[in-house]
Each structure stands twice: as C-alpha cells, then as structure tokens.
Subunit: 152 residues, 2 copies
DNA sequence: AACAAAGTTTAGCCTTGGCAACAATTTGAA
DNA sequence: TTCAAATTGTTGCCAAGGCTAAACTTTGTT
C-alpha cells in the first residue's frame, strides 16, 4: 500500500526534511507556551503605567475572561517569578517580569508600526499584531524596523 | 487605593477600550483553536500529494510529537468532519478538509513569499511563516500579495 | 503458515487555560 | 460601626494536546 507506485522511499518531492519541519512546529509550540505570560506581563505593565495599579478585575475585563482564569494564571506567573503579589492586593512585576514586559512592548510596537507602514488599517493592524507578535524572529523584527525606517 | 491620585476614573491615558482589547484577545484565542486543525489538514494534504498517502507515523515525525498525540487529534478532526479514516488505515480529508487545506496552503504561500520578498533568509522565513500564518487577516494578506507583486 | 516488525489504537496521567459557584476579604457608605 | 458591594481567592468541572506503556492489527519475511 505504501508508496503507491514508487519504488524509492526517499522520493518525497515537494516536502522538506521531517526533522526540519519538526523543529519549526516545536518552535511554534514553545511560542504558545510563552504567549500567555507575555500578554499578562505586558498588560500588567500597561495598567500600572496608565492607572497606577493592575488589578485582577482589570485583567479579566481586558482579556475577556473570568477573574478565576486570571487568578489561576497569576498563580503560575508568580511561581515562575514574573509576578509578585500579596493576597487581595494589586499585582506587581518582578524585575524579570518588567524586563519581559519591556521587550514585549517594544516588539509589539515594531509589529504594529510595520503593519501600519504597510498600509493596514489601524483596527486590523492592532488585531493582527496581537497574534503575530509572538511568532516573529529577531531577523524578521530587524527587517520590519528597516522597512519602517525606509517608509517613514 | 484605586486611581492613586486620580479623581477621574475614565482617565486611562494610553490604554485602548477594554471591550476592544477583549475582542482582540478573543480573536487570538479562536485562532489558536483552529491552528492545530489547520496544520494537520495542511500536512495531510501535502503528504497525500507527495507520497500518495498520509499515515499517523508520518505526521508524528513531521510534527515532532508522539503517535499517540497524533491519534488523539485525528479523532477530534474526524469528529469535526475534516478527516475521514478507517481503523489501521491511512488518513483522508473530507471535502471540507480539502477545502480548508487548500486555503491554508495558499495563505502559507503568501506569508512565506512575503517574508522572502522582504529579504528574510529562507530558513527563518519558513519558521516564522509557520507561526504567523494563523494570525493574519484577509486585509493584511491582501497587502502582502500587493507587496509581493510590487517587489517581483 | 507462522512470526517478527511496523504501525495504530487505547488507557492513564499531566499541564494549561477556559468556566461557574461558592468562600473570604477589603472597601465604601450609611 | 456595621453592613452591603466589590474584589479576590478556592474548588471542581471541562477540553486540548502533550507523554509513556501496553494492547492490538497489518504487513512482510522466512
């Protein structure tokens, strides 16, 4: 049944190396792991900057999830050393968390500005940037920056 | 404690509307839901085209996960009407599945070509495209196509 | 035909991130 | 001060997608 008419098992025209492809998908899975953490620290930093503090209820509102979900994630981020908080008090970022937030905001900025420079409407650019930002490499980010500079 | 020195609760400078932001994040979550299905039908279509058939073991190799994981996902895709298969036999796509695969491959092509046209190295372009493709809107895709055409 | 190898399925476990419902604490207003 | 409202935390549920180990089927060789 296998190879249906082919005698050469290595005849996999049009397909890349399996190991290579596996590494790509692995990278995407790792990005997904980090995504929640990145979104949370980024929003916490924004809220602290804009409102003086970040509360569970704010995060729940802005993410569009229940406060129970937010709380569960916060427990994890605390365990991982990104967030530091006391029971029933507002949320703070550790130094590591602040660092991550800074890098994420910068990356978000670049992706958003790039899409805008490309002529995408602001609403769509924001929506797309939110999903895309977690999956762009440094190399691509640099190319985005160059494009923005050229098209200013 | 709230608003720390602010008297106006609506003074949320620098932050977008919470409902708007919630919609963005919701869109990303929905994209994640669809991502696995899209990756699977795309790869199944590729394997059928290149090798005549798609088997669980091939998917496991190329995704870099165990065959048990692949099987579990296949059960779900079957339940959702994208994949049709008999026990211990190779995998097939339903018409719906073929349709989805076609659209995904086209989108992948556009994102990849766009990154290449931007000057990204092939290896990075492939890796980034794999993550980015699930998060680009039709509007952005159109802009990508235009850019590719202009820079051909 | 029999058997070993390869491939597939099943079972059981884990983590993440959803939810609702209920418990606990803090805050603000009478 | 007291008490209700708002906020936060806890518990228990679910689905998805990871894994290993073990059972089952198919395939190919001897």
């Amino acid at each position: 049944m296998a190879d249906e008419g082919f005698s050469d098992k290595n005849l996999t025209e049009g397909l890349v190396d399996p190991g290579q492809q596996a590494r790509w998908f692995n990278r995407v899975r790792e990005a997904h792991q980090a995504e929640t953490a990145e979104d949370y620290v980024e929003l916490i930093a924004d809220l602290i900057e804009a409102q003086g503090e970040a509360r569970v209820v704010d995060l729940a509102n802005r993410f569009g999830v229940s406060h129970a979900t937010v709380n569960k994630v916060i427990v994890r981020l605390n365990r991982e050393g990104l967030v530091s908080n006391q029971p029933y008090r507002s949320l703070f970022l550790t130094e590591t968390g602040k660092d991550l937030a800074r890098r994420c905001k910068e990356r978000h900025r670049v992706v958003l500005d790039f899409l805008l420079a490309l002529g995408i409407s602001p609403a769509t650019a924001e929506a797309d940037a939110e999903g895309v930002e977690h999956h762009v490499s440094e190399e691509t980010l640099t190319a985005f920056r160059n494009f923005i500079a050229r098209n200013r």
